[in-house]
Amino acid sequence: MDYRTVLTTCPYCGCGCGLYLEVLDNKVTGTIPCKTHPMNQGKLCVKGWNVHEFVHNPNRLTCPLVRKNGSFAEVSWDEALDYTASRLKAAKERHGSRSVAFMASAKVTNEENYLLQKFARAAIGTNNIDHCARL
């Protein structure tokens, strides 16, 4: 058996409450607010308390998909990434860097946002990157 608690940060609102995810045999089974966290001191809202529930939802995406003849086909990572990279490169070469645009995300980590804007700016050569801070 393996039971662990993992200290992390709530992914919902901008409060950034600290919480422990309970992990029993590699399944996230519960949420416990962190008592000593500066933001929430042992409290959470209803979203935070149930944050573990969507993690194992059967609707989660588990395989890369590429549209073929109008519908999605499951493909390997190699195929999905090659396809994406070559199409992005092609758009850039044919129509210029300004023809490619990126939406960054308020839901992913700082590190991932950093990489995405670096990818847009350094690899594709465009400043067309925005996210829904405005929303």
Binding site: M1, D2, Y3, R4, T5, L7, G18, Y20, E22, L24, D25, T29, G30, I32, P33, C34, K35, T36, H37, P38, N40, Q41, G42, K43, L44, C45, V46, G48, W49
Partner: protein
């Protein structure tokens, strides 16, 4: 005290008597629940106090002294206006019983050790009685609470039946007391027991019924329906929660219909609440839930002569309760 808890946990783990020892750990600068499954992790074990040796990293304080003049203390219930306990003991308690129930459901034949304070043990006794846990599969390692924490909790019994003794450092002869099997015959500190009804309850009792009602309604109006009081509660385990029954409390609005929401829970908890106070600490609306449930418990024990989890409260203790009526 903590070293002895570690020693006992180590013995229990090494002997193979338990699969894991459920306690608290300090990691990443925060204190949280942890199941110790190997002895080499025991260095991180802590008892959930936020001062003294388990104080937060001093660097945390220094970090703030730079640009922020004062950093809000980690206080569990600043809004209650109650005196904070000086020792910081029990400031980061977690519902270990609840976690144990969840683990045991998946591993019913395994035996687990668990750190217990008085309230935790009251909870275990109730959970045994309600068939949520098997007493043969639980090894308790008790600790007694210091007086300031007991005062803050208005605790009727701030220790479990057996506890790891605190005094071994000054008196080596007490070593045998740490084995966690012996019944302690002496309270670790005096005075020990609060008078009933507790002060917080008595204060409310002194209000006119109308004012008391308004006082509660003003508190309930802040409820954000986080269900934290239920989700943290070591004694809440119903599959179908009546708070989520649309016939009782309409779903989809905050504040939830009050006082229905709160009274429904108080009534439901009356025969289960072991007065640990975790609900009050988890309430983002700072509603004095513990006081509400203390009162519900008083009414309950008047009626039935039973107070959940207390095995040795004599009928005369219970008889001392005032005969009060509605809330």
């Amino acid at each position: 005290m903590i070293e002895h808890v570690k020693t006992i946990a180590k013995q229990l783990l090494e002997s193979g008597q338990i699969t894991g020892f459920l306690s608290l750990k300090k990691e990443h600068g925060q204190i949280g629940p942890h199941l110790f499954q190997s002895v080499d992790q025991l260095d991180y074990l802590c008892l959930g106090d936020t001062t003294g040796t388990e104080n937060r990293e001093s660097s945390t304080e220094e970090r703030y002294s730079g640009t922020v003049e004062s950093k809000p203390e980690i206080e569990t219930n600043r809004a209650s206006g109650k005196q904070e306990n000086q020792s910081g003991a029990g400031k980061s308690r977690y519902p270990l019983n609840k976690i144990l129930v969840r683990i045991s459901r998946n591993y019913p034949s395994d035996c687990f050790g668990i750190l217990v304070r008085g309230c935790d043990e009251r909870g275990l006794k109730r959970l045994f009685a309600l068939n949520q846990l098997d007493p043969d599969k639980v090894v308790r390692v008790g600790i007694a609470c210091p007086q300031d924490l007991a005062d803050e909790c208005e605790c009727l019994e701030p220790w479990p039946d057996k506890w790891v003794n605190d005094t071994e450092k000054t008196d080596g002869s007490e070593k045998e007391k740490i084995d966690g099997t012996e019944k302690s015959d002496k309270a670790p500190h005096e005075p020990v027991r609060q008078k009933l009804p507790c002060e917080s309850v008595a204060r409310l009792e002194s209000l006119e019924a109308r004012d008391r009602f308004d006082w509660w309604m003003e508190h309930f109006a802040r409820c954000i329906k986080c269900y934290g009081c239920r989700d943290i509660c070591p004694m809440c385990f119903c599959k179908e929660c009546s708070l989520q029954d649309d016939n009782l409390v309409r779903t989809g609005e905050i504040p939830p219909e009050y006082p229905v929401f709160h009274l429904a829970r108080a009534v439901h908890m009356a025969e289960r609440c072991i007065d640990c106070g975790l609900c009050s600490e988890a309430c983002p609306a700072a509603i004095p839930l513990r006081t509400l449930y203390k009162k519900a418990g008083d009414i309950m024990s008047n009626e039935s002569g039973v107070r959940p989890g207390y095995s040795d409260l004599t009928p005369s203790d219970i008889g001392n309760l005032p005969q009060t009526g509605e809330y």
